[in-house]
């Protein structure tokens, strides 16, 4: 036989199979694709991780401006050529044209360079000089003359847009002068208000003398309107001389301050018979003269500045006896020199005060905080004006200088104190936590306390957990330890479906169906936690007397099927009993009983309803996680315990439960997180009133529902908008902490099981 052994030549292929032609080009292509894929996957992964931080970042960046310190910067100081100290200064809303009140009337100047506008003469001024003015910037005001007359005037700015450019022209409208003091004494100080009945003037003509002039205009259908002037002279019982007056815009109260520090309130609600109150001391010490009196926007808060530099705010509050008394609200940051000028903001409750050294403070009336302190240059300030949009300040000094300051203070009403603390709001008798973001009028004081909302969120969560935790944990214990595996295979999907029920469905059922039903059976509902377990115990007891032949047919772990009708029966029985209890012990009407015995009112949409509805949302979550950790307890622990003679229950309670307790803790935490953020259920099943009380029969307003309701209406970039973002940030942080804690506990537990 021939030797068939093949002899290989060097370099010859070993096999007869054709080698796969692997070109480096193709392999390179594959590697490039592989690398690209790796890049893409990494990019996608990082994008997701980035978006988690983006959420935090975006929300926080919207919140940040709330807490940014307000700033003020000097734009420029110009000279107006005013020889005397101006009596008052005002500015248009674009801060282009300022007007100054001087002895010869009102003059307009450009803010940018101080150049004057053509003078508009005050008709009727005659030979007299202007010696006083009522506060500017509140619409019509009045000028007091050296001969005892008063001229009502109004400054208007006409804004026209032409070819994209804005032109503003000032306009001065003067009314007919009228005689305030027939004796012809100069008007030292003046207060003026246009009320519904007509203009009201209070003119200080002597050290203690005030003349009140009311003008009643009666418009006849035909013929000219007739004016009826009534003059009333008052001698004010103060020590010292009158140094300041303030009249509210409704013409109800006139406050007269004196150099002794005393203030007298004159009740003008009946203008024909003004009532003069007892003088009260409003300055910081006796003997310190009062220098400035003024109202914040809305005319409810009175700001008092004195010769010692103190600035304080007061409100007229109803005391127990029904009398209205001035109550001190805040001591503001004091000046070092006498306060000489005051101007309120026309947007919010802010105001500025200036002292004799030129130090100017921007303060906020709602919070009592000093926002900005600036030092004006030049001479002693004579008059101040807060720009109408609260974005600038004008300071006029005695030497004709006019300083223009830019103020950046978009969110004065939001501070840590006003967001989380008690604030003394206008019209309240004490500091309180209030959430009331919008009101009907322009001078509404926004109340942004998040405390009632946090309270509401916690209240709803706690009631939901009260309801959900026992059911979910007992259920989980049963399902993991005693339930028949086949039954469990059906049960778990059911619970998953329960978790998937849309919360809007739960919420609407709670609000429209459950709330009216619960209202009918409240006493019975409170009996169920006693009656149903009792029924079950009775059933177990009775079970022993069932013939053994039948008993054997029910496999262990399927008791739950028997228990469903028993629980239903128990529920029915407790509602029946509830009616009986109501009739026998609660005098037939539990609501009346609650009100008379416990002082509780019953709202139809209350925390009880929310607790039950939110329980639906929370039970499956707690159940699933708790069941997981209970089931994962190593089987040899259970077996060991049973082998040592412990009963099934003892094993479950003493071995399984403690081992799994970290998992159970984390289940409750995650349930808590879900309940905190739940929106639709609390929105629909409560009345959404931001009250703070723990009563289960009352509603509440939660952070989440509040965001859902108010965010669509909040102006972008406004304080409310940012406060709502802050609420979202709080929710985010709250749930993030709770969830992370729960997750860590769970991971540690998993490691522990591995070692067991």
């Amino acid at each position: 036989m021939a030797n068939d052994t093949k002899v290989f030549e060097p370099g010859e292929p070993l096999s007869t199979a054709r080698p796969v032609a692997v070109s480096w080009k193709a392999a390179g292509h594959r590697l490039v694709v592989d690398r690209l894929a790796r890049r893409l996957v990494t990019l996608g992964g990082v994008a997701i991780i980035g978006s988690i931080f983006a959420i935090l970042f975006v929300i926080a960046s919207e919140v940040y401006p709330l807490f940014k310190k307000p700033t003020a910067s000097l734009v420029q100081t110009v000279s107006t050529g005013f020889a005397a100290a101006p009596l008052g200064v005002g500015v248009d809303e674009y801060r282009e044209i300022a007007y100054l009140v001087g002895p010869s009337g009102i003059r307009f100047h450009r803010v940018t360079d101080g150049s004057p506008f053509p003078e508009m003469a005050l008709l009727g001024l005659g030979t007299a000089r202007v010696v006083s003015t009522s506060p500017l910037g509140r619409g019509p005001f009045a000028l007091g003359l050296s001969d005892g007359r008063v001229i009502p005037v109004e400054v208007k700015f006409n804004v026209a847009f032409q070819e994209g450019r804005r032109t503003i022209t000032p306009d001065l409208a003067a009314g007919d002068p009228f005689m305030a003091d027939p004796a012809g004494r100069p008007i030292q100080r003046l207060a003026y208000a246009v009320t519904k009945a007509g203009p009201l003037t209070a003119a200080v003509v002597g050290p203690k003398d005030i003349v009140l002039v009311t003008v009643k205009e009666t418009k006849a259908l035909i013929g000219p309107a007739t004016k009826e002037e009534a003059r009333e002279t008052l001698a004010v019982p103060v020590e010292g001389e009158i140094s300041a007056v303030a009249l509210d815009g409704r013409g109800e109260d006139l406050f007269v301050g004196a150099s002794s520090g005393q203030v007298v309130r004159v009740d003008l609600r009946d203008p024909a018979a003004p009532k003069v109150d007892e003088p009260v001391l409003l300055t910081s010490r006796t003997g310190v003269g009062l220098t400035v009196l003024g109202f914040l926007i809305g005319d409810r808060t009175l700001v008092v500045g004195d010769a010692a530099g103190a600035v304080r705010s007061f409100q007229l509050l109803q005391s127990d006896g029904g009398q209205r008394r001035l109550t001190k609200i805040y001591d503001f940051a004091p000046h070092v020199a006498p306060v000489v000028a005051f101007a309120p903001s026309r947007r919010d409750k802010g105001f500025v005060t200036a002292d004799a050294t030129g130090a100017t403070h921007l303060q906020y009336g709602t919070t009592g905080e000093l926002l900005i302190a600036i030092q004006a240059e030049g001479q002693k300030p004579a008059a101040l004006s807060f720009a109408p949009k609260a974005d600038g300040l004008l300071l006029a000094d005695g030497g004709g200088g006019l300083s223009h300051w830019l103020v950046n203070n978009p969110h004065p009403e939001a501070t840590l104190k006003s967001l989380f603390g008690r604030i003394w709001y206008e019209g309240y008798n004490a500091p309180e936590y209030v959430w009331q973001s919008t009101g009907g009028t322009d001078d509404f004081e926004a109340k942004f306390s998040l405390a009632p909302l946090i309270y509401g969120t916690l209240k709803g969560t706690l009631y939901a957990l009260f309801f959900a935790v026992p059911i979910a944990l007992c259920g989980a214990l049963y399902a993991s330890q005693f339930m028949h595996p086949t039954l469990k295979g059906v049960l778990k999907p059911t619970v998953e479906i329960m978790a998937a029920l849309p919360s809007v469905v739960l919420g609407f059922l709670a609000g429209l169906w459950l709330a009216p039903q619960v209202e009918k059976v409240v006493p019975g509902l409170f009996l169920t936690p006693f009656v149903i377990p009792l029924m079950i115990l009775l059933a177990v007891f009775g079970w022993r007397f069932v013939p053994a032949a039948f008993r054997r047919r029910v496999r262990p772990g399927t008791e739950v099927a028997l228990l469903v009708p028993i629980a239903l029966l128990g529920g029915w029985l407790s509602f029946l009993l509830g009616g009986v209890v109501e009739r026998l012990f609660l005098s037939g009407d539990y609501r009346g009983w609650l009100l008379s015995m416990l002082g509780l009112t019953y709202d139809q949409r209350n925390s009880l309803v929310v607790g039950i509805a939110m329980g639906f949302a929370v039970i499956p979550i707690i159940f699933t996680i708790a069941e997981d950790s209970l089931s994962n307890v190593p089987q040899h622990l259970v077996a060991g315990s049973l082998a040592l003679g412990a009963t099934r229950w003892q094993t479950a309670l003493r071995v399984v439960f403690p081992t799994a307790s970290p998992g159970i803790f984390s289940a409750i935490m995650i349930g808590f997180g879900r309940a905190v953020g739940e929106t639709m259920i609390v929105l629909m099943a409560t009345g959404n009133t931001p009250v703070m009380d723990w009563s289960i029969f009352n509603g509440f307003r939660a952070l989440s529902a509040n965001i859902a309701v108010e965010l669509p209406e909040a102006p972008v970039g406004g304080t409310l908008f940012r406060v709502l973002f802050l609420a979202a940030l709080l929710l985010f942080v709250m749930t993030f902490i709770v969830n992370t804690a729960a997750e860590m506990v769970r991971l540690r537990l998993r490691r522990k099981y591995r070692y067991l």
Binding site: F482, V504, V560, L563, R674, G677, T679, A708, L731
Partner: protein, 539 residues
């Protein structure tokens, strides 16, 4: 007795009781919604009640309840009252009355009673007095009137539909075109072109559209005049109402209908519910725009969430180096699933709407400002917000799937010389498909049921037009849309007429529950099959 307690059995039963309770709750909830919602479309009989004081009430009975008698002596007989839907809102002021059963002298089901569903003012109950054509009677009395009415209603309905079609489609198209031209002119103006051939051409076009508008208006007027038939209905309380037939949606006499006729009617009503536009501030008619909006939003969301979620899961399990960083990220992802949905909505408002949308508006749509195009809530932003909300669901499901795929499969592929990408693409991904699908379906179910973030990112109670229509570019992602979940909230809680709206809310809830439950059950089934597959496989 002590042994009874010692054995612990009672406690086991008690925990079982808790389990039973939660089962009762789920089943009860679903039954409750079904019971309240399914009956709404059934044409129940119209009852005519004569009260003891001689007054007449005619309508459909909606509920019966016990009258609460606080402070009554034990043994007092229970008293009941019934709620009757009497309709005729324009005649009586309210749709519903409560009647105490003790005060009913006579109860009948008159065969002549007719129910007319109207386009405005809700149902009309009564008896036909006559049918008129151009103001002169053509048929008198209930029976002749009914025949005459039946002969004329289809025609009138056709005309009414034609009117709606012209108003919505034809005139809508003209308005849309004119708006586009106006925006183009404004765009030119922004580039400081106010004259020239382009502008003239656009103005010319505008004029032609205006002429077309005039034509359509004339057509509308003709149609309106072509239908002159009306029906006069007399209702209890000596009221009479003359109703033009174009106002009639449907007229029927439930008391003469058999079970078969009623079933047919029921199905027709169900069809109307899912395919028609809402009427009377959403309390009547259908929910088609809400279904459409929900589906479209979920679709857009799925397009975004699937690739993102899958990529992230691959990164976490296959590509990133396992270590503290990846564990931290995994915790963060799990955490993201626990962040309240409203927080995502707030993020959507701050980031998508005002930041991204505002930038798009300033860059691409300066001609429309200050009216925002993308800088306001819309279906795109709502979908993206929900995509972010549901991405953890997809990540977790995909990761679970990746963990379940045996390492041997990957190693075999790698050993054969495939690159990592090829292994992933050809081996891992096909095996992973069921997991991804499960995650996606769960995400869709979550998105379909979620309302809170949508409320602030673009859902409205009544959208004038669908986000998908015949005008270029067909998908109008900036438009606001309607949503089933929000529909429930809005109709149930913001509606002026809660009693009339309630059945509608229950029916919508059934629909939403159905969508969510079917999606969830599908996901569960897929997952179970997948588990079996891997449990039984040889790997």
């Amino acid at each position: 007795m002590t042994r009874f307690w010692r054995s612990g059995e009672p406690f086991i039963w008690l925990t079982g009781g808790a389990q039973a309770l939660s089962l009762i709750m789920v089943a009860g909830l679903i039954l409750l919604v079904m019971a309240n919602g399914l009956g709404f479309f059934w044409p129940s009989d119209i009852v005519g009640l004569t009260l003891t004081d001689g007054k007449m009430v005619m309508g459909q009975v909606t509920q019966r309840e016990r009258i609460p008698q606080p402070g009554a002596l034990p043994g007092t007989a229970d008293r009941y009252r019934i709620q009757v839907k009497v309709g005729n809102r324009d005649l009586y002021g309210a749709d519903f009355v409560w009647v105490e059963e003790a005060k009913i002298a006579k109860r009948q089901t008159p065969r002549d009673a007719i129910l007319i569903e109207r386009r405005e003012w809700g149902n009309l109950y009564g008896v036909i007095k006559e049918v008129k054509e151009a103001g002169s009677p053509v048929a008198q009395g209930p029976q002749a009137g009914w025949l005459a009415l039946q002969a004329r209603v289809p025609d009138a309905t056709h005309v009414a539909k034609e009117i709606v079609r012209i108003e919505k489609k034809e005139i809508g198209a003209i308005n849309y075109a004119q708006e586009q031209i106006r925006l183009r002119l404004k765009k030119l103006e922004l580039r400081e072109i106010t004259s020239g051939p382009e502008v003239d051409r656009l103005k010319q076009e505008m004029a032609t559209w205006q002429a077309k508008y005039k034509d359509q208006e004339a057509a509308l007027a003709r149609l309106n005049q072509s239908q002159t038939a009306s029906v006069v209905i007399s209702a209890p309380g000596d009221k009479e109402k003359e109703l033009p037939l174009t106002q009639v949606v449907r007229a029927y006499r439930p008391n003469t209908m058999g079970v078969l006729a009623k079933t047919g009617f029921y199905l027709a009503k169900v069809w109307e519910f899912v395919s028609d536009d809402p009427r009377e501030s959403n309390t009547e008619g259908g929910v088609f725009p809400a279904i459409f909006g929900t589906v479209m939003m979920v679709m857009i969301m799925s397009l975004v969430v699937t690739p993102l979620g899958v990529l992230a899961a691959f990164y976490l399990r296959e590509y990133a180096r396992q270590g503290p960083f990846v564990s931290a990220v995994r915790i963060a992802v799990n955490n993201l699933a626990g962040v309240p949905s409203i927080v995502f909505g707030v993020f959507g408002v701050g980031f998508f709407i005002y930041f991204v949308g505002g930038t798009i508006d300033r860059t691409f749509f300066p001609e429309a400002l200050p009216t925002p195009t993308f800088g306001t809530g819309g279906i795109l932003w709502a979908s993206l917000t929900l995509a972010l909300l549901t991405v953890p669901v997809v990540i977790v499901a995909t990761e679970e799937g990746l963990a379940a795929i045996p390492g041997g499969m990957r190693e075999a592929s790698l050993a054969l010389g495939a690159t990592k990408f090829e292994t992933t693409w050809r081996v891992v991904l096909p095996a992973l498909m069921p997991s991804i699908l499960t995650g996606l379906i769960l995400a869709m179910a979550r998105a379909a049921g979620e309302v809170a973030p949508l409320m602030i990112t673009g859902v409205v109670k009544l959208a004038p037009s669908l986000p998908l229509d015949g005008f270029w570019p067909f998908f109008h992602l900036e438009r606001k849309f309607m949503h089933l979940g929000f529909h429930i909230y809005d109709v149930g809680f913001q509606s002026p007429n809660v009693d009339a709206a309630r059945p509608m809310v229950f029916t919508t809830a059934i629909l939403l529950l159905l969508v969510v439950l079917v999606l969830n059950l599908t996901a569960i089934l897929i997952r179970n099959r997948m588990r079996k597959q891997y449990a039984g496989s040889a790997f």
